[in-house]
């Protein structure tokens, strides 16, 4: 491909038989399968890839992995657009479209580049010191511009068209990282008999070995062990998969970029929750940059990265290269670049590097300088020359690439996430994992080593230990050896430059040594303050390349040791995780499971407007009843009051309570008595919380001496069930009682209205539903089509009413039967809005009144428990504040103003008083009463019943309404309850 000016003619782990086209900032470029966007850009000679966060300085590709601070791009278009992706980990795909970020109008010419001119003012935390005037709200003005300037990529607002999968997985041993250490760990653990999952974020296995020359021994070793792993039946290898977090119980969060990237119906990404018994961490190490003026220019690159681009991607990242290093590793990069035809100079800070190195350098025609360090750079959009200082003299060397290596920082992120503080190790001048908890092991350069040979041996040992921790200890042969002859010389740190010119520590957050000095000067000297004051390490790379440089700089300023200075806290995720991957399929209508009654489809088919009630779908109202809900619910109420209505109440919680001690049990859990409840009778019951506040209400029917059928409110069903089990398991284990939720067993429907009995009789001709056979609160048990049929005469509406329970599978059949039998009598179905309205007319309390703050007395139910004791919640229900004279208690309200209405949420005041503060109470529930021809409501009012007959003002500032109402009894209709009886 002609455009790939920096691509070598041969070599690399790219597939030249599969050329890809892609676009960067509108330019069409070419690459190959096996490239990352970064390697492809470099191959095409693109070195300027973005603008920095604060100063908008030009930036290029700095690394070859997830530690990349600079080369962040936005990929995809429209609803598939995704900002802030590291070009160094973005796998190239055919037709990929990517853009640089944080520049306008163009990358090469960025207007906000002028920020560099203001740089003197834009120091760390400058915004804390200004933007404070002229007015108190001044910040709201400045913030507008600050927000625009801040941020990196731009996100879309369309819903995500792709989908994601969550998978539950299990393993004996999880191995994080597939470099030499991880590979040999996985191999050993598997051979020892453990079920192994090997996790690698890259799309290739090998880790740093991928940076070795393709024809090297390393490559051969890699081929061998990959084949071996495939041969083992008990190893699952996951590539393109980042272990982003370690959680309690050795649970790993893994996110996989699926190979087909959402093509042909597959998921775009998959979250695997891996529960492992043991974990081997072999996450490797990250190379450190050097801190000197203008060290952020495009063309400055980590030494190991340059080597990776050369050997893995067959890209020559520079033709004239300066390698500035503090360790032997940098020389290896120099050797390979020179061998590939680049002109290379090495500047080693140390007086005498390993002898072999200089010999080899000489052989390859590399000018090697010792005791020399890099002091600065020339060039804006690209490096032009490097300034080296050593043994007194300063030289300037023209170049187009500067490779830097300031040593290595072990990847201690994951092991630290559970609170294991990393510990400083002199031998490597860096942090290694602290003491790992049982079941966690570490190996390779992550533990501080730098030689492949050691990595392999440590991995092997860790694999065996991890397996035996899981009780798997088959003997394992020694691993195939590989020695790359890395020499681990004593560490040597290049002091950060505090001199003239911006020396960057955190490239992504634009934090310089001057910012660190300022933070120190102003007393933000704890590393955590330093971080928060300068935003150091707070970018999407989480400071992978900057943290050590930062704390060594702060250490120097405080003249404190590194361990005394300490690190900031490591948190998940190790690399950013798409929120969609975490949610998997639980999106859209699957956000929460949908709960349907056995009669659901009939409602839908018969024009019900359905409503979400908790997880349930319930009929709100039926369109046939009226144009909108306010018209419909009134019509439906009228039907119930005049003829009869049919309501699906299957959502009620239903609990089967059995056992010789069932009556004693209920007598304790209900505030009102159940001990003497006769068989065949239903009773209304109220439960309290231990703190004496009303918990839930419902009815319980005694089916037999030892058997009760309890119903709860729809909302509290699960809580009540669990509470009953709690009392039986932990408080009264000696009671012989079994409780079982039967909510889904029964379809339930209420037939309510004057004609309800006739309708039942017509529907079930062979049942005796006469008043004597089935009086108010009575029970009739029989069968319908082989399923149990249970009719309980209960009324919520205040009309003669029956609750019909039948085995769920026959629910729709019985419903249809009632609809048919009821038609001649004018029976119509009604929805929850009418249900709620009917109970208000009746003065029944429900959710709005039972709000977790009200007591029995508040709700006018006190008499139920007169002279009872020993029930749950009794003692604390007698606390003084609950008896205060101004306690707000249940009353009824009648709107007495023509053409006006009551509203829920209105606040109550006395006619004469100032309308401010919290008033004397509130309207909890309201309805229009067709029978009374006006709005009525329930309210909680200071003093309660005492003020019956008084006039009161209901104030609704939001609607700018004040309405006069009269305080009345909450029972609006049929106070003696005659309609229920007879």
């Amino acid at each position: 491909m002609s455009s790939q000016v920096r691509r070598l003619a041969s070599g690399g782990r790219i597939d030249r038989s599969q050329p890809f086209e892609f676009k960067f900032d509108g330019r069409s470029l070419a690459g190959y399968r096996g490239d990352t966007l970064a390697s492809a850009l470099l191959a095409n000679g693109v070195t300027l890839t973005g603008r920095s966060f604060k100063y908008h300085r030009p930036r290029g590709i700095f690394s070859a992995g997830p530690e990349e601070p600079n080369a962040l791009v936005t990929a995809g278009m429209g609803s598939r657009r995704e900002p802030n992706l590291a070009a160094t980990t973005l796998e190239l795909s055919d037709g990929l479209v990517a853009e640089s970020q944080n520049r306008w109008p163009s990358l090469a010419f960025d207007l906000q580049g002028v920020n560099s001119l203001f740089a003197p003012f834009l120091t760390a935390g400058f915004y804390y010191k200004t933007f404070m005037g002229p007015t108190r709200r001044a910040w709201m003005f400045y913030e507008h511009f600050i927000r625009k300037a801040a941020g990196l990529g731009k996100a879309g607002i369309e819903p995500d068209p792709d989908h994601y999968e969550v998978r539950h997985a299990f393993a004996d041993v999880a191995v994080v990282g597939a470099g030499p250490a991880g590979l040999s760990a996985a191999c050993a653990a598997a051979k020892a008999g453990a079920r192994v999952t090997l996790i690698e974020q890259d799309f290739l296995l090998g880790g740093q070995l991928l940076g070795e020359r393709p024809e090297s021994a390393a490559a051969a070793w890699l081929r061998e062990i990959e084949a071996e792993l495939q041969g083992l039946g008990n190893v699952t290898t996951m590539t393109r998969t980042a272990a982003f977090g370690v959680y309690d119980g050795n649970v790993l969060g893994l996110v996989e970029r699926c190979a087909d990237q959402g093509a042909n119906g597959g998921a775009r990404q998959a979250l695997t929750i891996l529960r492992s018994r043991a974990i081997v961490f072999a996450a490797g190490a990250i190379e450190r940059p050097l801190v000197f003026p203008n060290n952020d220019r495009p063309g400055v690159m980590l030494a190991s990265a340059a080597r990776t681009y050369l050997n893995r991607f067959a890209v020559l990242p520079g033709r004239k290269v300066v390698v500035a290093t503090t360790n032997d590793g940098g020389w290896r990069t120099a050797f390979d670049l020179a061998a590939a035809g680049a002109e290379v100079e090495v500047a080693d800070l140390r007086a005498e590097p390993a002898p072999g190195l200089q010999a080899e350098a000489a052989r390859l025609g590399i000018a090697g300088r010792t005791g020399t360090q890099i002091a600065g750079l020339k060039g804006g959009h690209a490096v032009k020359a490097a300034r080296l200082t050593g043994s007194g003299k300063e030289t300037e060397i023209a170049c187009d690439l500067v490779c830097v290596s300031g040593g290595w920082s072990p990847t201690v992120h994951l092991t630290s996430q559970l609170g294991v503080k990393p510990v400083y190790r002199d031998a490597i001048d860096g942090f290694v994992p602290g003491k790992l908890p049982a079941g966690q092991f570490g190996a390779g350069s992550m533990m501080g080593g730098s030689a492949t040979k050691d990595a392999i041996e440590q991995g092997h040992r860790a694999g065996i230990e991890a397996a035996s921790y899981c009780g798997k200890s088959v003997a394992v042969p020694a691993p195939a050896p590989l020695d790359l002859g890395e020499t681990a010389a004593a560490p040597f740190r290049q002091p950060s430059s505090f001199g003239r010119g911006k020396a960057f520590v955190d490239f992504q957050m634009d934090v310089t040594t001057a910012d660190i000095a300022l933070a120190h000067r102003e007393g933000y000297e704890s590393v955590e303050h330093l971080k928060r004051y300068t935003t150091l390490g707070m970018g999407s790379d989480q400071g992978k390349t900057s943290n050590f440089a930062a704390l060594s700089a702060m250490g120097a300023l405080r003249n404190a040791t590194i361990p005394a200075t300490g690190t900031t806290t490591f948190r998940p995720p190790y690399t950013p995780v798409a929120i969609g991957a975490l949610a998997g399929r639980a999106v859209g209508h699957h956000f929460k499971p949908v709960r349907r009654t056995p009669i659901n489809d009939w409602h839908v088919a018969n024009g019900a407007e359905m409503l979400e009630v908790g997880l349930w779908m319930r009929p709100f109202y039926y369109r046939a009843s009226g144009r909108d809900v306010s018209e419909a619910y009134v019509a439906e109420m009228r039907t119930v009051r005049t003829t009869a209505g049919l309501m699906d109440i299957s959502t009620l919680g239903k609990i089967d309570v059995q056992g010789p001690d069932a009556a004693i049990f209920l007598d304790r859990v209900y505030a009102n008595g159940f001990a003497k409840q006769p068989v065949g009778r239903a009773r209304y019951g109220v439960m309290l919380r231990d703190d004496g506040i009303v918990f839930d209400d419902g009815t319980t029917t005694r089916l037999a001496e030892h058997r009760f059928f309890m119903t709860t409110s729809t909302a509290k069903a699960a809580d009540v069930m669990s509470r009953l089990e709690f009392l039986l398991d932990t408080v009264w284990p000696d009671l012989r009682v079994a409780v079982t939720s039967v909510t889904d067993e029964w379809a339930a429907m209420s037939v309510a209205g004057p004609r309800s009995r006739e309708i039942l009789a017509a529907a079930f001709p062979d049942l005796d539903v006469s008043n004597d056979a089935l009086p108010h609160m009575g029970l009739s048990e029989s069968e319908f089509d082989g399923r149990a049929l249970r009719i309980i005469r209960l009324s919520y509406s205040g009309e003669r009413a029956y609750e019909v329970y039948v085995g769920a599978s026959a629910g729709e059949a019985v419903w249809r039967r009632l609809v048919e039998a009821g038609a001649p009598f004018g029976l119509k179905p009604y929805g929850v809005e009418a249900l709620g309205a009917l109970r208000v007319e009746r003065g029944h309390v429900a959710g709005p009144e039972i709000d977790g703050r009200t007591t029995l007395n508040d709700l006018g139910l006190g008499r139920m428990v007169a002279k009872r004791s020993g029930y749950v919640g009794e003692v604390l229900s007698r606390r003084p504040a609950f008896e205060a004279p101004d306690r707000q208690r249940l009353v009824g309200l009648e709107c007495i103003e023509e053409g006006k209405r009551l509203r829920g949420g209105a606040i109550l005041f006395q006619p004469d008083e100032k309308m401010e503060g919290h008033g004397r109470g509130r309207v909890t529930s309201i309805t229009f009463s067709p029978e009374l021809g006006r709005y009525v409501g329930l309210a909680l009012l200071a003093g309660g019943a005492a003020s019956e007959g008084n006039e009161i003002i209901a104030v609704h500032p939001i609607k700018a309404e004040t309405v006069r109402a009269r305080v009345v009894s909450p029972v609006f209709l049929d106070p003696k309850g005659e309609r229920l009886l007879g």
Binding site: Y247, D248, G249, N250, V251, I273, R275, L418, G419, R668, D690, D691, A718, S722, E725, F726, D729, T730, V731, W732, P733, S869, G870, Y871, V872, V875, L876, R878, R879
Partner: protein
């Protein structure tokens, strides 16, 4: 993600369970009329930074109430028993 080893069902993610709070508080007898005793049971908590006896119910499994001993500093679970057998 805690993993709680249910004595009946084996190790499960904690979101199969319902939390029941401090298991070391003493519940007065159901007919104990002493407000102070009930106040202490309902409200007063040791809330230790360290080992904590607590109730969990395996609602998605065997529905048994369990007593779990767990260190609140690091979430390490040292024992799980059936509440009925814990006394």
């Amino acid at each position: 993600m805690l993993r709680i080893e249910c004595p009946c069902c084996g190790p499960r993610d904690h979101d199969e369970f319902r939390y029941g709070g401090d298991a070391s508080v003493v519940r007065p007898a159901h007919d104990d009329p002493d407000p102070e005793a009930w106040y202490r049971y309902v409200y007063v908590r040791k809330n230790p930074a360290g080992p904590h006896r607590e109730f969990w119910q395996h609602v998605m499994g065997c529905r048994q109430w369990l007593v779990v001993e767990r260190d609140t500093r690091n979430h390490a679970i040292s024992s799980v028993v059936l509440a009925r057998r814990s006394a």
